[in-house]
Symmetry: D2
Subunit: 335 residues, 4 copies
């Protein structure tokens, strides 16, 4: 049984606390949130204690592992605290908006050889994982092209955009990680973006639509397209094209019903909205993978280094967006 402290009891933290509770080999010992009411509510829902401080939560001997779901600016400190306490940590993405702080965090904890996993939930989606597994099993031969379609249902308020680090660091970060998950290390990034949806996002200096092309070290080319608005739901698809075949992971819907009428045929439901519904299975599998790693001392599929590399791609993309030129990833964020 892996006993968790959950730090951060917002919507995401509560969801993870429930998922940990539901796992047959995991439980929540204690939760903490700067807002005491949120911590109380989550504690009541999963039947656990509330810690008065983060330190109290991490010092609890009945805590085997830490889940960090607090605000982004607290991540590197909490990862370091957990690592120093000798406790495995699963931290929501991103590690930090500032690559310098990400690198500094790693420099600090690397000697401890800590078990750190970053919450790239999509790696655990059954369909996306099947695409990766089947690529690696050789089903489509050498991987030549990947297309990642990733569109949110509706744009966040401009105020969120401001503090999120912008489209590439906040949203595309998942797609950069997916690119690496499927195609391996990325060596070049080209980005084009636009402000097509909400002028307030543009006023904050951010974009709300983007198309990128990446080149992997393997030679494969990867396209990512993003939009902050998709009226038919949270559009999450992958296409992997290889020398001997192609694999596509399609969207998911609430039912399998198709409607036929005089105006149209085979019409299906809108796609699942939003990430909590769409990636429900993935979040459960993510916890399961982390519990496995804790139990067996194995390295997570989405380690700290994976999180750092995804962020490096975001930095590369920002640079390409600004200059219009292809950016070599090796030239970015070198510590």
């Amino acid at each position: 049984m892996v006993r968790f402290a959950v730090i951060g009891c917002g919507r995401i933290g509560r969801m993870h606390a429930r998922n940990i509770k539901a796992h047959p080999r995991a439980d929540v010992t204690v939760v903490y949130d700067v807002a005491a009411a949120a911590a109380q509510e989550t504690a009541a829902a999963v039947g656990c204690a509330v810690a008065a401080t983060v330190d109290e939560a991490l010092a609890n001997p009945a805590v085997d592992a830490v889940f960090v779901a607090s605000s982004t600016d607290t991540h590197v400190d909490l990862i370091a605290l957990a690592a120093k306490a000798g406790k495995p940590v699963l931290c929501e993405k991103p590690i930090d908006l500032d690559m310098g702080r990400v690198e500094a965090c790693w420099a600090e904890i690397a000697p401890l050889n800590p078990l750190v996993m970053i919450g790239f939930n999509r790696r655990f989606d059954p369909s996306f994982k099947a695409v990766r597994d089947r690529i690696q099993a050789g089903e489509i031969g050498r991987l030549e092209q990947v297309i990642i379609t990733s569109r949110d249902p509706s744009p966040p308020p401009a105020s969120y955009v401001k503090k999120s680090g912008g489209l590439f660091r906040d949203m595309t970060i998942h797609d950069f990680d997916m690119a690496r998950y499927l195609a391996g290390d990325i060596v070049e990034v080209q980005a084009m973006g636009a402000n097509l949806i909400d002028p307030a996002i543009g006023a904050e200096g951010d974009i709300d639509a983007a198309m990128l092309v990446l080149r992997a070290a393997s030679g494969a080319l990867v396209h990512i397209n993003n939009s902050r608005r998709s009226v038919y739901g949270y559009d999450q698809r992958i296409e992997a094209f290889g020398a001997t075949g192609m694999l596509q992971a399609q969207n998911r819907r609430a039912t399998t019903v198709e409607a036929w009428g005089s105006a149209r045929t085979g019409a299906m439901d809108p796609v699942l909205d939003f990430f909590i519904e769409r990636y429900q299975d993935a979040y459960l599998a993510e916890i399961d993978h982390f519990v496995d790693c804790v139990e067996n001392g194995t390295t997570p599929l989405s380690s700290f280094q994976e999180g750092r590399e995804a962020q490096r791609l975001a930095e590369a993309a920002l640079l390409s967006l600004r200059t219009g030129a292809v950016v070599r990833v090796a030239d970015v964020g070198v510590s």
Copy 2:
């Protein structure tokens, strides 16, 4: 080059005349219709002569084969005339509404060993033919179940129903033939029908919806469902289920476009409407098959006997509808 006389220049006859014209190894020498204007129009469209009488058309030495597309009550006489003239004949279904006349026709012409093909166009549909070929190649093992869905876009006027012989003889006849095409000889028929759409059809003593179950000599069970009205278009599907797999032939649409919106996703066009559009490829392949048979002296896939057996199933179904009991096909229409 196979040179045709086309007898009957209604909508169907004109379509066939054009298809013959377009065939690289066939041509239309002469056309005939009781309505001289219709014959003239078709002759102009395909660039051929008009015959003053059927006899003149059939006696023309530049006629190698006869296409019969005239009204049903003329079919048996025209088949017999062509057979006696030693000319291969391709006749629209049905042979005749009266099984006695069908049997008498065959008794008369059988000694001549004529080449007679009945226009069961669906046997030549590329998708349905692929299902049959793949069944016969063993792809799904022993055939156990067949489901034939066959729904017209909209009901004919009750006046047509009256003279058509009713749903089973006029519409289901194609499905009976398809059952035989896929599952072989049929030994038992159960039918249930209803008048759900147009009361005027019921007033003529006919039904406009039906569900049937047939047992093949092979042991396979076959379900046919019919409706005289399908608002999403001409619904023509087949499912063949076997010991090691299943094959489905789906509907056809004018484009491959799928529409995604806030209310629905993946919505496609209505299905092709009506038989001339839906079975365009099939009609062309039907002519091609007949030309092959004429050139090589081979037996058509849809011979006179096939046409007779399909009609026998219609008679069996009518009897089952009347009595509520399963009908043994062997007890029906014995000549």
Copy 3:
């Protein structure tokens, strides 16, 4: 909080005990099984007590409701016991293999006005429920035809078949209930069956493939097709055809991955196998519905009477199979 006694701790009982445990407003107080080890194992899994006898379980004041998942021959007695104890009961289908015992049970408990729900899980499948809800909301106009495809992955041993009551009472019972769920009361039944898969099943006097046609009081026609073997998985589909449209509920798969290669394109996973996986959501929704009924005193969607009527259709189908004639449901199983 609705506190359950679970009677019967086989595979199905254990699954339900876990599902009850996972429900936010339900819990398991006590379990019972004739095999003490099975009861112990389930009790350990969900953290509850073990009763030494059924009476002890039902008499427990901390038991608000009873789940009956024991062998079929115990159902009517347990339903009666629960009803007399004034406790709502959710009982797995079928009520009993003998219609006389079903009727007698109802006669005994009807005066108590008990809350009895029969476990027709498919009524709670999100897709099938959506089809029903959308029919009732008028989306496809008057319902004219229903096609229920229901094929198990592989045949049970002949020994099971023997004591199960045969295909219609054991397997088709779900489809009879689905027919009623979608089309309402059924007035006529026609059945055709065959022994195509396992000769040992035939040797027991049973069939392993069937096609039926039913007529609803509303006028709608319903087709059911069954097979005891489907190599591509547990085939569970519904098509509802109406005056203004059609709704189809398709099969479910583990992922949304489609594979494209030189031999084929768009190939998907086999469909989910078997009922515990395929109807996982349905089983959870079934518990939720029962808990709602207990809390609010409302009548379940799948009441005792619904269970009885589905069985009456099984009896009608058996009679039709034997006689080859359409059977009027009103003539069957009158108490």
Copy 4:
């Protein structure tokens, strides 16, 4: 009746000659090819004369229009000859591999106000045309993103690549035109390419895989992906994403058959191979559109200017590929 001279009787020229012959308001008067045998063969197939020289063909008073299907290096001269002869001309793409010659050609003929159509067949594909028409009708609101997937079944010999002008000028040219057809004028181009399939293509200095991103003047972003090899057939898809919805044009297959088995479900045919089969309907519609333009004096959907602009995008892409930088289209190929 529009009477054609067809110049060039290779595989493409012969196909067009047959299509013209089949058109109800068009005919072929004369054909010409530098290889007399090819011209003879085509003339025999469509029943027309053979010209000894191009001049003879164009001077023929029974010629109303000219179809140019000869080698690329002859296009501009033939277009100019036809324009000077006052005859409308439909010319296969590309106009010329050299933008200077393209510009010079236009400078020469522009004063004549000629009717020149370039054979961008894909504009006439029923599905792609439906996507454009529905975008323009406002179905998906403002167009924000377009994804064009365009993959050939197998790479041409390196010798062809050498004289074709390379991937962008030879193959992507169609996709550049499609981008303009759907999204209007393009202002920026970013290109990334790779040699992943045939080293001999790389040895000729060309690429066989590419991913590009374009920005339209409207603000829309467009992604194009290309491969010279697609084992599942000629992959031709379009996705148009807008503020209120999305439209996708999917691939086409020879049949609608889906296969279900123990290893996979819903498997369809490979997609149609190659352009003559895939775009059969488009080629017929292209002729029809040109005949309409000739009859009514209207401007073709794919005019000389459209052809020139598509080529300008190819030049921009080549420059981006070389420099790694985004290229402003306005800076390319200014005459």
